[in-house]
Amino acid sequence: MIELFVRLIRRPQGLVGVTLLALIAVACLFGQALAPYAPEKIDFLGRFRPPGWQNWLGADQFGRDILSRLMVGARSTVPMALIATFVGSAAGAIIGVGSAYLGGRTDEAIMRTNDAVMAIPGLLLALLLVSTLGNGAGNAVIAIAVAFAPGMARVTRSVALNVRNQDYVKAAIARGEGAAWIIFREMLPNVMAPIVIESTIRVSFAVMLFATLSFLGVGAQPPASEWGLMVADARQYMYQAPWGLIVPAAAIALTAIAFNLLGDGLRDALNPKDER
């Protein structure tokens, strides 16, 4: 584990990714305590105050401190994306490994249906689901998880299929091992790495999708300081107060970049090809 971490941060993208994520983690954990102002405190005189000593990153249309909202908002943005990805990945992984292990026509039927569901664009599926479940951050998380599961299932299955064809699995079957042992001890440990890498990269999509849903008004709801919602709110004032738009947009982009970098870094660090 430590060895992996060292290998990870030895690469520039791994180092940048880990550093950014550390910052984000600090914001998620201590944002509330560190924020200079209460994130929802309105200030009539401070409306559209540009960045300066009073509000380091400026203030929004209610005179709320953008830095504080950003720091507190990290908690309503990043963990949501993580949860959505985790739930979606777990569901997808179970479907994928199960389908690969079952094989044959069952596998065919599961995967064709899975592909069919994937034909509905993720955002559309999420939109429909949120409309059904009702607007809100929690429902957006569910919707993203559902939208992610088929893709994860497909990825996992292809990896699992490859693992299932490995001789050590065949050896286990020839030996007369049970299905549980083969799935959990022989196959699963060997599909974990690709799943973790893929999920890490998908977190960045989840961050963006979550922000997009909030932007479209069906995700997090005011007065939450979710970043996508902040962008949506600031958009109508973007000429008066562009900082209100640029700051949360940059936060979303940096978070997405961080997870992308981490995913790529992990992929490299876990790739046995680079080992001499």
Partner: protein, 515 residues
Amino acid sequence: MLSVTRRLFLAGTAISLVTLPRIAVADAPKRGGVLRMSLDQAASVIHPMLARVNPEYLVTELLYSNLTRLKPDMTVEPDLALSWEPNETRTEWIFKLRPGVTFHDGSPLTSEDVVASINAILDPKTASPGRTNVGPIKEVAAIDPLTVKFTLSGAYADLPVALTYLNARIVPAKVIASDLASLSTTANGTGPFKLVSYEPDRKIVVERNAVYYDPARPYLDRVELLVYPDRTAEASAMMSGEIDLLLTTTPGEYERLVKAAGVKALRTPSGQFLNINLGCDQKPFNDVRVRQALALAVDREATVGFVAGGYGTPGNDTPLNSAYHFYKNIPMKKPDVAKAKQLLAEAGYPNGIDLTLIASDRPATRTQLGVAVREMAAAAGFHINVQTMPHATYLDQVWKKGNFYVGFYNMQPTADAIFNLLYTSNATWNETRWNNSAFDAVINAARVETDEAKRTALYAKAQEMMNAEVPTVISAFFDLLAAQRSYVEGYTLHPRGSVFRLDLVSLGAGAPKRG
């Protein structure tokens, strides 16, 4: 009586008063040209009796005519009706129609068309939103081809105003008899323009009606209505000259448009307001002290800033503001946290009170009001959780049923209309369930009162009652904001928000040539 007759007189001579001075004083409006106007949302309904939102009202106004229409000062002028006369008790009204008017298909307008149209609006099966807004009509009958008689269920002085209602457009009787639903896809009216093409979410094109009853109007050859769902994008398009006129914009964009070259930003005070509805029949708002406490917690000046970007006027918990006739200037409530706390304590909430305020997501200002009120009222002990929901869900689950939610209303033509729409016990949308019989009595008395001074006094009383008892917190009225290119002439931003009069618009020097 005096006021009514004076209005009637004015109405009767409206043609000469409205159109002649223009010809005499200014240069004659230039004929021809194509006007591109942007709509803030799709005009998804062109059925004149089913239209519900401003872009749809605009389209049906272009294609159809009412008997009467509303001027910017909220008085009426003739449209298809040349003149009208009530009986002594104002329970029967005789309307004389303008002769020689034809529909777009060439057939002549007769009193049969008017009778059929009004009956269709009143028919519940039509499901027209105008059904409850065109006045207490009991029966409508054709006396001769150009005379129509309205029989009312009670005295009603404002019938000519009510008939300006946006769904009370006149359509051919034969269409009503054969297939009224066909008006959802085709149009046949007496309006200044004829329908050329209709794509609800993209573009609607109308062209000049050459046989409009006023041979001079309209001045434009063609009007193209383009749907711009994004306000920022719309303002940008206005600044780059892609569109000549926009229907409405936000304070933020307005500030940009004011500074833009070649653009004339338009602004007019209006009676459009955002409010917080309090369910007066349930805890905790059945206690007047809680309502008063909330009213005292809200900073009205600040609210105008937060939700209207400063482009509006503070409200004093009555639906009337200076844009209305009969507005009574009561000293504006000042935020008073101590008093509010005290009232709340007296009502039995010494430790404050937890509430959930529901706001629909359209328009976004509803949520903004919620967020602002939440923060402003916190000091007084109101712990408000703002919950937003899609507009459709809101209409289904909250509206008229909820106990504590944000409302949003256009200006109505008369004081009577707004009070009877929202606040009397038998109001069409009795949201607050205030059910104050004293208040009802005042409004009913004002309705039939003919003496201007007495009527003013009655409406003043009504406003004072609402101000004191706070069935609803009305803290901000909006100015209507829009913009046009400088070369657009003759357009007036109507405070009603849903009257446009593009038949008076022409293109002046500098207008781009458009095919």
